[in-house]
Each structure stands twice: as structure tokens, then as C-alpha cells.
């Protein structure tokens, strides 16, 4: 039940990662100076949704429940490895994010134990943001209360849509109305922040369906809403249906219209990232601002001080590695100065705060001026030395990034 897709199904190609997981000293140098996050991946789902290509598994794919039952202990081994690798330089954790998969497929006590392990190894910073993704169907008031009591401060529900026909196309099992109800239960349990994730552009969805979903989501009073365009991925059931012509592929123009509808209805929350509105998720901001984080779990990605690495994908391989005392890292890359510059533009441009013009090369600087003229970048922000997307620019963000990185 991944919502924001924390861990994709395929891994990049990189250099081999050392068995010890050790990082170069240079990567550890500035560790305390940037926010530090921990991502915890839970790679299990009750069933696989037709559009999903994330690194998650249903019970039958793993041949029994032992991996799932022992998963928290396995993940805790990696948390300890993280502590050992980062050593004394490790700062207290600012943000924790449990994603999946379907984290709430695990009992609340497991998730709380996992969080406790993080707190025990690193300590939580004052006011730390601790999020879990949750399936509206797999939590109830008791579970939410247990999570809240265990230290979680933020919950993100995979709502996707409020329209039954759309939920069916997406293979979502929850009944309409349940996510909104769950949001209310979360507030009642004392959660400070509640997010609802929505998907637009599913085959058969109309503009009006989408408006309905947005209105229903807003009616639950969330502090945060994510709205993602449905992407038809190769190798998914939806991908096959589209290729065979059983279902139509979402059209870009339709997706553009839906995005504008989202912006219209969500403007009260205020956008802070191309697909996100409301009170920012600090953990995700870490990704976009080049922060440091350790990703725990199969296929999870990490970044510390200019070194990116990723874990082996399969839960079995992951478990075996940690049981043998070996780092689950599958590959890594050390970013060059130019890589980091590209990434800054690529990631920061998606944010409301944009990217400083000072990081651009001359060709990119010229492109920025051109895009102000073309209405894709905000003129006032440009005058203040920043490249910030306009509404139309948000829809063409990738094209702007390509030009700004010239």
C-alpha cells in the first residue's frame, strides 16, 4: 500500500557497496550540520494493487510469514549497523518515516518497538517528526492510540480516491468514507498531523470524480494532502491492461487539467512541493533539500554527505545479509560536485522556495531568464535571485529543470 512510493522496484547501477557499510570520512564530516532522518521500509502488503511497482511483497510471494514475523528484528539490526557506521558523529534524529509497503500490516507494537530502537540508538531530537504511512483499512482507534502513545506524531493515509469506481480500477480495497473516518480517529488519538494521499488520472475517472475526491479529503480536515498523477508503469497489471488496450492510458492534457483542479481546491492548504500541499512533511523536505538520511529495509535508499547507497531489494536477501553481519548495501555512488549541483536544481526546483540562481551555470541562468519571459518562472522571485516555478511551470517542471541544468 505505498502512497508516496518510498522505495521503487528497480535499483540503479552504481559502485559496489562495502560489506561493512563503512562510509568515507568525508561523508561523515558535516553530519551534525544538516537535518538527519531515518526511513524505515516495510516491504509487505496484503495484496498488490494493479498500478503499483514498488518494492513490496504479498505473503504468498515470500512463501510463508516468517520473514514478516521476524522483520522488525531484522530491521533493528540495520538500525544498529547505521549507528555503528555513523559512529559518534551521529546526531539525534529529526525525522522518522515508516513507509511501505503497508507498515500497518505489522502490529502497532512492532512499529513502536522499531521506533524505540531508533530512539535508543540515536535519540530523537526535540520536536522530531515521526510519520507512519497507514492503510485506512488496517488501523482502528486502538491501533492509532497505540502508535501515538509509542511516539508517532504524524500519520499518512493512502486514500487515493473517494469514488468507488476509481478505487476499483486502482484495486483499492477500502470502502469510500473510511479514510476520512480514519483521519478523524487519528486526530482524536492525538496525532498532530494527518496527511491524505490521492491519485488522479485513473482510467475512467472524470474531472468531477476528482473534484469529489478532493472535497471529501478536505472535509476530513487533513493538515497535508499529496496528489500524484497515476503513472502507468511497465510490468504492472495496469501497464499490461493499457498495453493490451483494455484500459486507456492517462492523457497528459487530462492530467494537466486534474492538476489545475487540485491546485484550485487545495490552495487553502498551500503548495510547498509540486505534488504536496499543506504543512510540509519535514522528512520528505530532507530528500528535496539534500539532507542526510539512512534508509532501513530492502531496497531502501540512503544519503549521507554526498554518498548515496541502496540496499538489496529482496526481503530474503536483506535478512540473510544482516543475519550474517554484512551490510545490506547493494550499490553506492559518491556524488561529484556537478552531480550535486544537478541534484540541487532537480530537487529544489520542485519546492515552493525554489532554487537560488547562483547554483546555475551561464546557460542555465540564461534559460531561467527565458522561462520568466515564457511564464514558467516567477518574475519577482527571479528578481530576488531565485528560480521558482509558476503554476504553469509546475506542470512543465522537468522541461525547466533540463534547461536550467544546461
Amino acid at each position: 500500500m505505498p502512497q508516496t512510493g518510498q522505495v521503487a522496484s528497480a535499483l540503479p547501477v552504481g559502485d559496489p557497496a562495502p560489506a561493512s557499510g563503512r562510509l568515507p570520512a568525508s561523508a561523515l564530516e558535516g553530519l551534525g550540520q544538516r537535518p538527519f532522518g531515518i526511513y524505515l521500509h516495510v516491504p509487505f502488503c496484503a495484496s498488490r494493487c494493479g498500478y503499483c511497482d514498488f518494492n513490496t511483497y504479498v505473503g504468498s510471494e515470500l512463501g510463508g510469514g516468517s520473514l514478516q514475523a521476524g522483520y522488525v528484528d531484522t530491521a533493528i539490526r540495520e538500525v544498529r549497523l547505521a549507528r555503528a557506521v555513523l559512529g559518534e558523529a551521529a546526531p539525534p534524529v529529526d525525522t522518522v518515516f515508516v513507509g511501505g509497503g503497508t507498515p500497518t500490516l505489522l502490529p502497532p507494537a512492532d512499529l513502536v518497538r522499531l521506533l524505540a530502537a531508533v530512539a535508543g540508538e540515536f535519540g530523537l531530537a526535540a520536536g522530531a517528526e515521526v510519520t507512519t504511512e497507514a492503510n485506512p483499512d488496517s488501523v482502528d482507534e486502538r491501533a492509532l492510540a497505540a502508535l501515538r502513545a509509542g511516539g508517532f506524531t504524524r500519520v499518512s493515509f493512502g486514500m487515493q480516491s473517494a469514488v468507488p469506481s476509481v478505487l476499483r480500477v486502482l484495486d483499492r480495497t477500502h470502502t469510500p468514507g473510511r479514510p476520512q473516518q480514519a483521519a478523524k480517529e487519528a486526530f482524536a488519538a492525538g496525532f498532530e498531523q494527518v496527511s491524505l494521499d490521492l491519485i488522479y488520472g485513473a482510467p475512467g475517472e472524470s474531472d468531477e470524480d476528482w473534484r469529489t475526491s478532493l472535497r471529501e479529503a478536505l472535509a476530513a480536515g487533513p493538515t497535508h494532502v499529496s496528489a500524484y498523477a497515476l503513472i502507468v508503469e511497465e510490468g504492472t497489471r495496469l501497464g499490461r491492461q493499457v498495453r493490451r488496450g483494455v484500459l486507456p492510458a492517462p492523457e497528459d492534457d487530462v492530467l494537466a487539467d486534474r492538476y489545475l483542479i487540485a491546485e484550485q481546491l487545495l490552495s487553502g492548504l498551500g503548495w510547498y512541493e509540486v505534488s504536496n500541499w499543506g504543512e510540509p512533511c519535514r522528512h520528505n523536505l530532507g530528500y528535496w533539500r539534500g539532507g542526510n538520511w539512512w534508509g532501513v529495509g530492502p531496497g531502501a535508499h540512503s544519503h549521507v554527505g554526498g554518498v548515496r547507497w541502496w540496499n538489496v531489494r529482496h526481503p530474503q536477501a536483506y535478512t540473510d545479509r544482516l543475519a550474517a553481519g554484512v551490510s545490506p548495501g547493494a550499490g553506492r555512488e559518491e556524488l561529484s560536485v556537478e552531480d550535486r549541483r544537478l541534484e540541487r536544481v532537480l530537487l529544489e526546483l520542485r519546492l515552493r522556495e525554489g532554487v537560488p540562481l547562483s547554483v546555475l551555470h551561464p546557460a542555465g541562468t540564461a534559460a531561467a531568464a527565458r522561462h520568466v519571459g515564457g511564464g514558467l518562472l516567477e518574475p519577482q522571485e527571479h528578481a530576488r535571485g531565485r528560480a521558482v516555478l509558476t503554476l504553469r511551470g509546475r506542470l512543465l517542471a522537468d522541461a525547466v529543470v533540463r534547461d536550467l541544468t544546461d
Binding site: 497528459d252 509540486v274 535508499h301 541534484e343 506542470l395
Partner: protein
């Protein structure tokens, strides 16, 4: 390394007696077995033994071997003891088998006294063969008709013997029947050559005159010319003189080919062999020219020399602009060996720096392009080919237009002349209707129609050359399931109502897409091209109008709507590496775009539009 073959009396100091010489060539269609027959003759006469034999010995270039066609003529000297018990020297001259090389064929024919007319017994005569046959008849060559591949189950030797007999006016039983593959009947062919082909005339005592029927550049030996000596003799003691250019030069070596180059003291009247003239490139030793000696030289040439004249022009551009110098170098190299290749630099706003290249015809174009790509590793875009137009302005000034970009603008044109050709199509009678339709659609004028046999027809048309180079041959093949064959020769020019159609992107003309077409087809070309480009060019951040125009008049319009969404809303979570790699890949793609004004046009769009752009004009 040439290997001396002591069976062949090549170092004989005395000139070969003309009475024992027979010079012949083989006229055949592609795939009708010319090379196989030549191979068999080499073996049978002992010039090449079975161990040395490699299939199609005479076709030396890889491209020729692959396509099964001969581009450059080769020649070889064959000793043969005929059935009269006497020894003869046969010179076989291999001829190119394509319409673009008619002139080279004509020079090869002029070097002979007789020719084999080699026809596939399963397929019958083809248009190019027929055209070359007519050429041979004009040259007064003795024709020996031969049906090949009689071992094939599908062979119909009786039917095609009758067809051939009707065409050349002999008796069907005079047509020899052979299998070059098995060797059956090949000795009879050699004996018939000895018996029926006249021996050359000419005397060793007269001033030397030799006709160059092929000229090639060899990177080790320089220019090698293949010649037929008509009068006198040539040796390394002489200084040579090219009569058309009055260019004097050393004679570094003379010799015969059997089948490797073997030096001799002299080459004398009646003989065929090679001369290495000590010149830098093939332009100084041109096919058709008469070679004589500086001292006691001839005063009149053998005649028949013609400057090679390019008929078809196309722009060649490197896909990667930085390869322009490499393209220049490659063309310079090809030019050493190809007197018909002409080119000059040109600049296209859309495609960058390239060359305007002139060719003898479409096959020549294709061969040059392929050699540039294969032998020189270049990736090229070529613009749609065009012919040469003569445009007369109202001021009576005349322009020769080889490039649509040079088409005069403004309304001052008084007359436009386009080249026309006489085309001959041979086809099964079932397809006459559809082929006549095609020819008519291409502004052809029917000149005549003959039945070669009950079910085979020869159609003769006068067609504008410009129509033929617009995928006429492909159309012909597809309409006749491949059964029709085509030959054509230039036949002057005619006045035509032609216009230049420009294609504009966002109001800017894209020179690479301009075409000169008949006024009646301008609309079809314009809409066809505009529609195609709408599909090929990706949506941009702004609306892009595509227009087709004749001068200032817009005749067709399409629109590429502005792209509204170009953002991956999905978040690959912490996998920033993947995001960055995706960006890098997209940027690579962007780099390969050609900018036309502000419009990014993928190279693939240029290639696709140019390669299929031909169809629209013809329909």
C-alpha cells in the same frame, strides 16, 4: 600480391596476334548469374584453380558482393584452346549492371566485338538487360544469346529462348542453354565466342590509341586504368597522353589481368589490359578517354568520350555536426576513385554544415552513402534527392538549380525546364493497368507497348526524371509484386509547371524540407509533409504552427499544440540517483535535438520525414 601464372603467355615480348584475340562482355541482369559464369570461365581456362576460387571472383568491392551487383567493371584475360584445336586469347570485360552506370556500360561495350546476352531461364529478360542489349546492337556487337540456370526446376528455357529469339532476331535453337553453377554448357559458350565473335582489327604499326573503359584508384599503386588498345602499342618506354585533357604523363606499368595484375612489356592493338599512368586521381584518367603516346601520337581520338554529368543531387549532413571534417575527408577519398562524384559545401539552417552532392542516379547515391557510413563510420542525414532544373527568368537570365534553396523567389520566372528520360518497363501483362496508372500519375507519356511474349510486355514512356527519383522504382515493384523491371536514359528536357513548396515551422522555413514539385502536386506534398511533421515533432512549451507555402501563399497548415504537462509527479522516494540519471538521459536526448528557431526537432523526425517525404509527392 599478384601471383604469376606461367600458363599464361603474358611476358611474351611479341604482341599477341590479333587473329587469335576475342574481346567480349556479358550483359545480364542482377542475379542472372553473370558472376557465376565468369567464375566458371576462370576455372575452366585454368586462370584460377579450384583452391583459389572464391565465389564471384571478379566483384571486388564488399558492397558489390553483398548486393550481388557489379558497380565497377573488371576484366580478365583467358587462354583457351578452342574446339578447332587452336589457342586463343579471350578478354572478358565485366560490365556494371545498373541504369546509373549506362555510360560506363557503353564504354565497356565499345571495348568489345561481341557480347553474351545472359538471361535467367526461370525469369526471362529484364529491362536493364534489354536496354544494354540495345546499346550493344547500336555498337554493332555480335550477340551470343545464353540461357542460364537451366538446372532450376522453375526454368522455362523454351519459352524464354523464343522471347530472346524474337528480340534479337535469331532462331530459338541458336540460344545456348547452360548452367553456370554446374558448368554445363560453359565450354560451348567459350567455343561459340571463338567461332562467332570477330577478331579485332588494328595494327601495331599505327600511332597508339587505347580506350579507357575503367579507372580506379588504388591506395598502394595510385590510379589504374583498364584499357582496350585499338591501334599501335603502349609500353613503359612511352610517355602517355590523355586526348580529352591533353594531359601528358608517365606510363609506369602496363599489363594484363589473369586474374591478378601481371606486368607485360607492351599492350598492343586488339589487347585488353591495364595501364598505370602515374596520375593522381581518376579525374585525370577518365573513363571513355583515349590514351595515346606523346611521341608519334594519334591526332584523332576514338570518340565517344563524355564528361560524367550528375543527374541527381542531395544534401548530405553528418548527424553529429562535429563530424563535418570527417565527412569532407571521406568524400575527398571517395572522389579519388569516382570521377562522377561532385560536391560542394552547403549550410542548412536546419541541418548545419554539410555538402551538396551530385550523383549519376539513385543507386550511385545509395552506394556513396553506404560507403560513407560503412567504410568511414559516419552517421548521415540525406535530404530528399532532386534533379537539375534550368530556370529562365523574365529577364532571360538562366539559372541552373541543383538545390531547392537556390530556387529563384519572386514572380520573375518565365520558364522552367526539367530533365526527362525515356523509360522502359518490362512486366507481366497482368500488371499493365496498374503500371500505366502509376506512369500517368507521374506525368508520363506513353511512347509504345510491345508484347515480348504472350504474357510479357515492354512499356515505353517519357517520364520526368524528377518523378522517377521520387520512389518510382519502389512503387513499381510494390505494384507488380516485384516482377517489373525498369530502365531509363536521359532524353533531354521539357517545360514544366513546377513550384517550390516550403515547409515552415513557427513561420520559419526549414530548408531541408523544401521540395520542387509539379504545381498539381504541391498541395498533396504540403499537406502530407505537414501532417507527418505534426506526428514526428514532439509538443513544445508553446504552440507550433506547421505551414506549407508556395512563396508567400500558405497552402496547408497543421498545429502542434503546446505541451501542458512535462513533470514526473511520482516521487521515487529517496532514489534520487534514478531521478538524476533520468535527467541526464533526457538531457542527452535534448542535445540530439536540432533547433529550428525555438523549436526542438528530433533528428529522427528529420530522418523519418525525409525518407518517407518522397511518397507524398508522388501520390
Amino acid at each position: 600480391m599478384p601471383v604469376r601464372d606461367w600458363n599464361v603467355p603474358t611476358t611474351d615480348h611479341r604482341p599477341t596476334d590479333v587473329a587469335s584475340i576475342r574481346n567480349f562482355c556479358i550483359i545480364a541482369h542482377i542475379d542472372h548469374g553473370k558472376s557465376t559464369l565468369a567464375d566458371r570461365m576462370l576455372q575452366l581456362t585454368g586462370v584460377v584453380d579450384a583452391r583459389q576460387m572464391r565465389a564471384q571472383y571478379l566483384d571486388k568491392m564488399d558492397i558489390e558482393r553483398e548486393r550481388g551487383i557489379t558497380i565497377k567493371a573488371q576484366n580478365v584475360r583467358l587462354p583457351w584452346t578452342a574446339d578447332d584445336g587452336r589457342d586463343y586469347v579471350l578478354h572478358m570485360i565485366d560490365t556494371p549492371g545498373h541504369v546509373d552506370f549506362t555510360y560506363e556500360v557503353s564504354r565497356s561495350l565499345a571495348a568489345c566485338e561481341g557480347t553474351l546476352l545472359l538471361v535467367d531461364a526461370a525469369q526471362g529478360i529484364e529491362a536493364q538487360t534489354l536496354a544494354n542489349l540495345y546499346l550493344a546492337l547500336e555498337n554493332d556487337l555480335h550477340i551470343i544469346p545464353v540461357l542460364n540456370k537451366i538446372d532450376l526446376p522453375a526454368a522455362q528455357p523454351d519459352k524464354y529462348a523464343e522471347e530472346i529469339a524474337k528480340i534479337i532476331g535469331c532462331a530459338p535453337e541458336d540460344v545456348l542453354r547452360i548452367s553456370a553453377k554446374t558448368g554445363e554448357g560453359v565450354p560451348a559458350v567459350l567455343n561459340t565466342i571463338v567461332r562467332d565473335v570477330p577478331a579485332p582489327t588494328g595494327s601495331v604499326d599505327t600511332p597508339a590509341r587505347a580506350m579507357i573503359f575503367d579507372s580506379v584508384y588504388d591506395s598502394y599503386r595510385g590510379v589504374i586504368t583498364y584499357v582496350r588498345v585499338f591501334d599501335g602499342q603502349l609500353s613503359t618506354k612511352d610517355r602517355g597522353l590523355m586526348m580529352s585533357t591533353q594531359n601528358a604523363h608517365e606510363i609506369l606499368e602496363v599489363g594484363v589481368v589473369s586474374p591478378e595484375m601481371t606486368p607485360t612489356e607492351t599492350l598492343s592493338a586488339g589487347e585488353v589490359g591495364y595501364v598505370i599512368p602515374g596520375v593522381k586521381n581518376v579525374r585525370q584518367a577518365r573513363v571513355g578517354d583515349t590514351l595515346t603516346t606523346v611521341r608519334n601520337g594519334a591526332t584523332t581520338s576514338l570518340g565517344g568520350y563524355r564528361d560524367p554529368r550528375p543527374m541527381v543531387f542531395s544534401g548530405l549532413y553528418p548527424l553529429d555536426g562535429s563530424e563535418y571534417p570527417a565527412l569532407r575527408e571521406a568524400l575527398d577519398k571517395l572522389r579519388l576513385n569516382d570521377a562522377a562524384l561532385v560536391y560542394e559545401p552547403e549550410t542548412s539552417a536546419a541541418l548545419g554544415f554539410g555538402f551538396r552532392v551530385g550523383f549519376l542516379g539513385l543507386l550511385h547515391l545509395e552506394i556513396v552513402r553506404e560507403r560513407l557510413e560503412r567504410e568511414h563510420g559516419l552517421a548521415l542525414i540525406s535530404t530528399a534527392p532532386n534533379v537539375v532544373y534550368r530556370v529562365v527568368l523574365e529577364s532571360r537570365e538562366e539559372l541552373v538549380v541543383t538545390n531547392p534553396s537556390d530556387w529563384p523567389t519572386g514572380g520573375k520566372i518565365s520558364e522552367i525546364h526539367e530533365p526527362v528520360c525515356k523509360a522502359m518497363v518490362l512486366l507481366p501483362s497482368d500488371y499493365v493497368g496498374t503500371v500505366m496508372e502509376l506512369c500517368q500519375a507521374r506525368r508520363g507519356i506513353l511512347q509504345g507497348m510491345d508484347y515480348l511474349s504472350e504474357d510479357r510486355v515492354e512499356l515505353r514512356y517519357v517520364l520526368p526524371m524528377g518523378e522517377i527519383i521520387f520512389d518510382f522504382f519502389d512503387q513499381l515493384k510494390s505494384r507488380t509484386k516485384g516482377y517489373a523491371s525498369l530502365d531509363y536514359e536521359m532524353a533531354g528536357e521539357q517545360v514544366a509547371d513546377l513550384v517550390k513548396v516550403d515547409i515552415l515551422l513557427q513561420g520559419e522555413p526549414v530548408d531541408a524540407f523544401s521540395a520542387i514539385v509539379h504545381r498539381d502536386k504541391a498541395y498533396a506534398y504540403g499537406t502530407g509533409m505537414a501532417t507527418k511533421l505534426r506526428e514526428l515533432i514532439p509538443r513544445q512549451q508553446f504552440e507550433v504552427p506547421i505551414q506549407a507555402a508556395i512563396g508567400a501563399r500558405i497552402i496547408a497548415r497543421e498545429n502542434i499544440r503546446a505541451i501542458r504537462k512535462d513533470v514526473l509527479a511520482k516521487c521515487y522516494g529517496g532514489d534520487i540517483t534514478r531521478k538524476r540519471k533520468l535527467l541526464e538521459k533526457q538531457k542527452e536526448g535534448k542535445k540530439r535535438m536540432k533547433m529550428v528557431g525555438r523549436v526542438e526537432v528530433p533528428q529522427e523526425a528529420f530522418i523519418a520525414a525525409l525518407s518517407t517525404g518522397q511518397e507524398t509527392a508522388g501520390k
